[in-house]
């Protein structure tokens, strides 16, 4: 047996995992285990910016950022955690800069900031420049910078190791089991703590901005060990994915003045969000787009709309809206300037659509984007397993896989990168601190057993069913029935379908019987994770009989604070589910109607 021993074991090497590894390794022996080379992680796909009230270009305050995030969450975010994140944001951004992150600059050499959806001046209600950015590859720069700093600090990496199981014994965490993809061997990582930082599960939907790697591994692994999940009904659909492909077009396009149009040439967001219009929260815009398309206002009657960032359009609507440069001069951008601020967006359009966004509008549709729910944690990354927030010793989660909850029912743009950096850091610090005070627990007998069993089941499958077909059917039913708008009928249909697919999944096999890079086996295992979580998502969504943030129901169209101002907790129990609830932490901001 391959056994390694580390005080802190970080699973996942995106922004949260790297930040956790960087901080934990300062005082504790630490390993970062990732199924991808760290620089391949999905953090690198984040584009538009990371939010903090630096106030580099105009007045801004931590309190404004906090309130905007609370409002954005449709009042389901825990306000103590949101306050903490928005306060920490300032230092987090400066720390990234001190690590060398190449932020874009203002004329006076400070970090440049751009407007983003839902971020406002709380006095005027108008968009505020809060998103610190590096062109339209802010996530790429964060990922590179953190990986580089980990190299500088000699953090130990296990690249292309697929973590399959978390080991628990006597009520505490004692390690993890991973498959070395290059050799096919299982490795036991005996640890005092495990930090899960594996990202989201957005590959369960047909149209998605998410990487193949986003198969919900961490949440599925802990779920199988009886750890609950929180608020799984809340998933974000980003309004602007490239039509059919789902590739993300950053909200930064609208931050730079881009406008959404329907097939009649109308700027339809004025109807749905009269004050901030095209910079409303993502859930609000995605719903507006669905309504426009439903009403026959898609482009040429089809199911897509236009995002237009041609300079003449940007300038025209900036003048109409009374938006100006920070110095008060009128906005008069050129194609060159936009190209410089949004180079990747221009490139995606050219490569995948043959379109030049400087002369043509972009065809877009909502795309599955972000997991708001996840493994319940407190604001120090400690996993909490019940209504009373009881900490599970030695287990931590951070980033998209975790539910702190700072995003509640709908995350604001730029707050995901912020979440990674802030909570990744605290999870790393807490885990290292905890590890110093405890011994290594003893490993369970046959620690690899459950991991081996999961792979053996797939290896020995009958191959009567095809994994790709099952995956495709899952994505379709989730997109059709557990998407932007939901109904009881649709979700019941989805639940039945997922049940059927989970049964059929038992008949999946693999042709590849080898050990070396058996990606067929790993992909099938990942599909199993998505199927398990798809059922959890749908069951949680069906249970919540209201509309809030990213969970919008035709049959319960209103938010219901009397009955539903609470977090959903869900546990696996004898092959079924057990539900529970915990209250939302409210400090300063009483729920009120959410208008943009």
């Amino acid at each position: 047996m391959n056994i390694h021993q580390f005080e802190v074991i970080v699973v996942g090497a995106g922004g949260a995992g790297l930040m956790a590894g960087l901080y934990a390794s300062k005082t504790a022996s630490t390993a970062v285990i990732s199924k991808l080379y760290p620089t391949r992680s999905h953090t690198g796909a984040a584009q538009g910016g990371i939010g903090a009230a630096l106030g580099n270009l105009e007045e801004d305050h931590v309190e404004w950022h906090t309130y905007d995030s609370v409002k954005g969450s449709d009042y389901l975010g825990d306000q103590d955690a949101i306050e903490f994140m928005c306060q920490e944001a300032i230092d987090a951004i400066y720390e990234l800069e001190h690590m060398g992150l190449p932020f874009d600059r203002t004329p006076d050499g400070k970090i440049s900031q751009r407007p983003f959806g839902g971020h406002t001046n709380n006095n005027t209600g108008r968009p505020v420049r809060r998103a610190a950015h590096a062109a339209d590859r802010t996530g790429h720069m964060i990922l590179q910078t953190l990986y580089q700093q980990c190299l500088k600090n000699n953090v130990k990496f296990y690249d292309e190791f697929q973590v399959v199981d978390v080991l628990v014994k006597d009520g505490r965490t004692v390690g993890a089991v991973a498959l070395d993809m290059a050799t096919g061997e299982l490795h036991v990582f005996h640890g005092k703590t495990v930090i899960i930082a594996t990202g989201g599960h957005g590959r369960m939907w047909e149209i998605t901005s998410n990487a193949y790697a986003y198969s919900g591994d961490g949440a599925a692994i802990t779920w199988r060990r009886g750890i609950p999940l929180e608020d799984m009904e809340f998933f974000q659909f980003h309004p602007t994915g490239i039509y059919k492909l789902g590739i993300l077009i950053t909200e930064g396009v609208r931050g730079e003045g881009g406008i959404l149009f329907n097939g009649k040439g109308e700027r339809f967001m004025t109807k749905y969000a009269p004050t901030v219009k095209d910079l409303a929260s993502r859930d609000v815009i995605s719903r507006a787009m669905y309504i426009e398309i439903r009403d026959g206002n898609g482009i040429n009657g089809s199911n897509y709309l236009y995002l237009d960032v041609r300079p003449e359009v940007v300038n025209k609507y900036a003048a109409l809206d009374g938006r100006t440069n920070p110095d008060g001069s009128p906005i008069n951008v050129t194609a060159d300037q936009l190209l410089h601020k949004l180079p990747d967006i221009v490139d995606f359009n050219r490569v995948y659509l043959g379109i030049d966004p400087m002369t043509q509008p972009m065809p877009i549709q909502p795309t599955a984007h972000y997991t708001m729910g996840g493994i319940p944690t407190n604001m120090y990354g400690e996993v909490v397993i019940d209504e009373k927030n009881t900490v599970f010793p030695g287990l931590y989660a951070a980033g998209e896989v975790a539910c702190v909850s700072v995003h509640g029912a709908n995350r604001l743009g730029t707050n995901s990168l912020l979440d990674l950096v802030v909570f990744g850091k605290y999870a790393g610090l807490r885990a290292a601190e905890y590890a110093k005070g405890v011994d290594y627990g003893s490993l369970p007998e046959d620690p690899e057993g459950f991991a081996r069993e999961q792979f053996d089941r797939i290896r020995n499958g009958s191959s009567k069913e095809n994994a790709f077909d099952i995956g495709r059917e899952m994505k379709k039913v989730m997109f059709d029935d557990v998407g932007v708008f939901r109904t009881e009928e649709g979700m019941k249909r989805a639940l039945a379908k997922i049940g059927e697919l989970r049964e059929r999944f038992k008949e999946v096999g693999v042709k590849d019987t080898g050990r070396i890079f058996n990606t067929e086996l790993i992909n099938a295992w990942e599909l199993g994770n998505l199927l398990d979580l798809a059922e959890v998502v749908t069951f949680s969504a069906l249970n919540r009989t209201e509309s809030r943030g990213g969970h919008a129901r035709d049959d319960y169209a209103q938010r219901d604070d009397v009955n539903w101002l609470k977090h959903t907790l869900i546990w696996p129990e004898n092959g079924k589910f057990r539900l529970g609830y915990k209250p939302v932490v409210i400090t300063k901001y009483q729920p009120k109607e959410r208008v943009y």
């Binding site: 050499g109 990487a211 995948y352």
Partner: protein, 235 residues
Amino acid sequence: MQVTLKVFRFNPEVDKKWHYETYVIEAQLTDRVLDLLEYVKGYIDGTLSFRRSCAHGVCGSDALRINGLNALACKVLVRDLGDKITVDPIMGLKVIKDLIVDMDPFFDNYKKILPYFINESPIPADGRERLQSPEQRERFDDTTKCILCACCTTSCPSFWGSDDYLGPAALVTAHRFIFDSRDEAAADRLQIVAETSGLARCHTVYNCTLACPREIQVTVAIGELKRAVMTGKVD
């Protein structure tokens, strides 16, 4: 349309030698080469192995040789290639299985050039950002785009000759730090790139620039490094 997809295959647990496998499949002009590989894996031969993740050209997993030219499989479409497509692993790195190569020498070279920001001076007293003008930031903008996919390095004849050559990707990263006004280790890095396994091995073949899926002007960056080494000045 029908596409004839020829794919390099090698299973180290079975094969003594590599071979091509040919698949005739239905495809659309807008399909990515990655979509075709996924289709083959899903419905024809699950043993076909390759790396991929983001599928839109930002993670750098799926660098391959497609019709003889290095590219990301997720950024080349059928309409760019026509109905005959040949896919090989990138060159100069040992093939492990099918299209998967051993990336370690590539990353080892990257690690040699001190690929991290170095500034041991105290941060500003107010704790805020180190200032940098937009012009100073622009100076190294192009080389910050690198995703370490290895398309450039594995298109370079010098690297094929010997993988101890740092290669374009490592040099691009060296450029990113050397020309960053905030970084303090330019002299150390210039010394590293000036060694025999560094800049001297670049014969401006230009393959790297053509191969870069991020359109980084790699040869220009290397030229700027050469000039900095010669003049001892970074400007």
